[in-house]
Amino acid sequence: MGSEQSSRIVITGVGASTPLGHSFSEIGDALQAGRSGIDWYDAGTFNRLQRHAAANVQKVLLPTETDSLIPTEQFEKSSRIEQFMIGPAAHALADAGINPKVDSLEQKKRVGIIAGIGAEQLKDWESDFLESGHDVFEASCQPSLVHRVAHMLGVNGPATTVAAACASSGYALALGKTWLTTGLVDACVVGGCDVLSPTALAAFHNLRALSRRDDDPQKASRPFDRNRDGFVMGEGGVFFVLERQRAAEDRQCKIYGELAGVGMSSDASHMVTPCSDPVQASRAITEALADANLSPANVDYINAHAAGTPVGDAAEAGAIRNAFGNAAADIFVSSTKSMSGHLISAAAAFEALACLIAIERNMIPPTINLDDPDENCFLRHVPHQSISSPVHVTASNSFGFGGSNLCLVLKSAA
């Protein structure tokens, strides 16, 4: 038991700034109530004031608990994407009771950080260009965001950015787990962030990946529904602190859950279009369950990637049925993107957070707007309203452009 406990990786800190709230409880309340964080969003003058349904965060907050980690003035001066990393990462560390600036010296603790961000440079250049800057014409080789934030927070261990499109922050969790199991670090800040941007909105719109419904923005994100027509972009940042269970128990800190298993694969099919063959996506799910030493029947809830695209949702439903076999008929499945929108690089981390909330509250969040389930997406859906049900084990799928597939298995630490 001792060695098993020391090799288990648990989540001891959570920080988030999302369209559904800025704390574990606030986001939990929104998910439980089936509340949408989506509204009309003006894409700006360069986009000719094109109006999109989007999940926007009005103001990125810096929780007061983080005072010792980052001065408010420094936070206020930071760019929006920096704020989406600094705020949640600092909050997660404070929540875990870790201050790297102190602990690394006094306790010889090694803290690492892995951030999932798909196109950081593009966002930096764009934000500068919108303010008449010239960075994109004469780019300089500055340290990337994760290194700047690591320096601000006093993180002394390795720092890196990973990208796998919409699965980016899930890869951060998966790789952070290995940093801990192999002993490279004692604690690891993992997660991801993304911002709404004119270029991304225009590019996804022109790709016909975004919903074009123009009636009610809160009805636009409708995963698994027969009338789905694309996803709704969102923004936000979600970060966690991972630790080995033994260390967390020694510190008597709150344990939100265990990151029990990870599985990864690639479709190797197309740079954009999801693969209709479920073999590789279901392989990621199967590998995650094997990594967690669990069988399909052990899973109580699946948080689907389902973004609301016609091809992607049906492909995922097939992958779930393929991986879970007969057990799929009994496992609750929902897509929280119906409420949060698609947080792109931060999506997988947000959905891991939704799983932790489901575990803590024994509650299955709903897929809102699921009025008419598509028969090609046949699963045990939870339409419109959350339901109460025991939740010990969850699986969270994330699939990205370029065919990156990822599944995280999160379970209660008890």
Binding site: R48, F137, C141, T182, E243, G402
Partner: protein, 284 residues
């Protein structure tokens, strides 16, 4: 509450280097390179696969072909291999053109290709899709620390891959510019910088001790690193390639305590290839 924390053992993963190759080309040569047939043995890219690709993707794919061509990878099954791409400031020219179009003509001018072709994971995805690799694929870095982060994450992925797919390899592709492109306000290139790519084919090796005469990479403690050839984590890809070409054992310092050790690549148990279009051109 007791917030004391404890340390534990060092990372023990290690990867053997099966193949190593570099490639480089001037920016002005990349378009022609993208139109070339990229193939070796049974591995080849679909026709016109790179027509929308970023410059770093083109040179990265070319370095992969060079690594395939060294003789060890000819007929090996790569279907379950993983690919990690460490790129530095990729997509700059496409980004500039896209933003100028957005400003002047509005959202209709934004190409959808900017998303899949100019993101941090683009090189990894192109390799996975192009060559049919079904192992994990992801991008890493984005800034000057990219090659160092690429080596670290290859060693991070190694134990995971060894567990799920023991015969698989990791293709680590590092790309970057020797000097960053300079563009005029219309997005036209005003210099002709060199774009560089480097590919390592790595075999996860979990059993210790290993044969030290075989080229390998591993995480080590800074105080134990024997190499006089130490580079900082933000060292340029060009400098790293130069160390490897000289056959030096090289150390990259990641943090105050952690380093990546890359043994000499000149061993006769490893064949490596360098294909510098620039040199070929000068010789011609």
């Amino acid at each position: 509450m007791n917030h004391s924390l404890s340390s534990s053992a060092d990372l023990s993963a290690l990867c053997l280097v099966e193949s190593y190759a570099t490639a480089s080309a001037h920016s002005s040569e990349i378009d022609a390179l993208a139109r070339e047939k990229h193939s070796h043995g049974c591995h080849s890219l679909p026709p016109r696969f790179l027509r929308h690709a970023d410059e770093q993707t083109v040179i990265g794919m070319y370095s992969i072909i060079q690594a395939m061509a060294d003789g060890t990878q000819d007929s090996r099954d790569i279907r379950n291999d993983a690919v990690i791409a460490a790129t530095c400031l990729g997509g700059q020219q496409s980004a500039a053109r896209t933003m100028i179009g957005l400003r002047d003509k509005g959202p209709v001018a934004v190409t959808p290709h900017i998303v899949p072709q100019c993101s941090l994971h683009s090189v990894a995805s192109a390799a996975s899709v192009g060559f049919g690799m079904h192992g994990p694929n992801f991008g890493v870095g984005g800034g000057p620390h990219a090659p160092a982060e690429g080596f670290l994450l290859a060693l991070t992925l190694a134990p995971m891959l060894a567990k799920t797919s023991p015969s698989s390899r990791i293709w680590l592709v590092c790309t970057g510019w020797d000097q960053q492109p300079c563009l005029d306000p219309e997005g036209i290139l005003t210099n002709d910088p060199i774009c560089r790519g480097m590919t390592f084919v790595l075999k996860p090796e979990m059993a210790r001790p290993v044969d030290n005469t075989h080229p390998h990479i591993q995480v080590s403690s800074v105080k134990n690193t024997p190499s006089p050839h130490t580079l900082p984590a933000h060292g340029r890809l060009k400098e790293l390639c130069e160390q490897f070409e000289k056959g030096n054992c090289t150390t990259i310092t990641m943090t105050d305590t952690c380093a990546i050790e890359i043994s000499a690549l000149s061993s006769n148990r490893l064949s490596s290839r360098t294909n510098e279009l620039i040199l070929q051109k000068e010789a011609a």
